[in-house]
Assembly symmetry: C2
Homo-oligomer: 138 residues x 2
């Protein structure tokens, strides 16, 4: 075997463990239009891959069937981020759906606007950053 | 404002907190050809966005300048996944670079091969799943 010097890696999905499949599916569909494109049930766990039409990158949910206590989220993993066309509109839609989005904030860098965004939490407490498409996030 | 009924969300990045910027940059470049496309230094923290040519999805690293103890990774967040063209080749390349990839495994579902993959850990202990491009991961 000749070993290539470069990687062919393509970022494909992020996986989080969730307690309640239906609760998470409802949230991700309402919040971001992410729908299950594959559901694979095993004896001890179920894998669900969520996607929408905007990109091929997926969110993988793992449901461990015997898990009852909340997952320890720690302080290492930060968030998944999405970009949206209209920040106020997206936030108003989520609020109307009782999803409790946080306040809109701005991040400045060297006196220039870097991003406008808000955070929202999924049912297990994972944070999702919702960023307006502009600048480096366009 | 007329509120759209559908989300325009596009998955854009995943953020993890890391202790040592250089150590992480070295790992992600060697392991997956992910390079910094933006580095934003603030008083208390630095943000670095990593990307390669395969996709626009980015890995965001947050370095908190006063953090010294390892981050608590918890048991909720699972991993980031990449797909690769040649699994044995990718693993051999990583091993030659002293990155300590794990063994290649197969996951079967209902008697059919679902995926061939291995795991590798980054310097802070975050897991990355490396999956062969085939089937639903093609």
């Amino acid at each position: 075997m000749t070993i290539s010097k470069t990687s062919s890696a393509k970022l494909a999905h992020a996986m989080i463990r969730v307690l309640d499949e239906e609760r998470s599916l409802t949230f991700y569909e309402k919040a971001f239009g992410l729908l299950p494109v594959e559901r694979l049930a095993f004896d001890d766990f179920t894998l669900i891959y969520l996607r929408n039409e905007a990109t091929a990158f997926e969110l993988e949910l793992t449901v461990n069937h015997d898990r009852t206590e909340p997952y320890a989220l720690g302080d290492g993993y930060g968030h998944l981020a999405v970009t949206v066309a209209h920040l106020e509109n997206e936030r108003a839609r989520q609020e109307a759906a009782d999803l409790a989005p946080g306040p809109i904030r701005s991040l400045m860098h060297n006196g220039k606007l870097l991003a406008r965004f808000f955070f929202i939490q999924d049912p297990d407490g994972y944070k999702i950053e919702v960023i307006e498409r502009a600048g480096r996030f366009a």
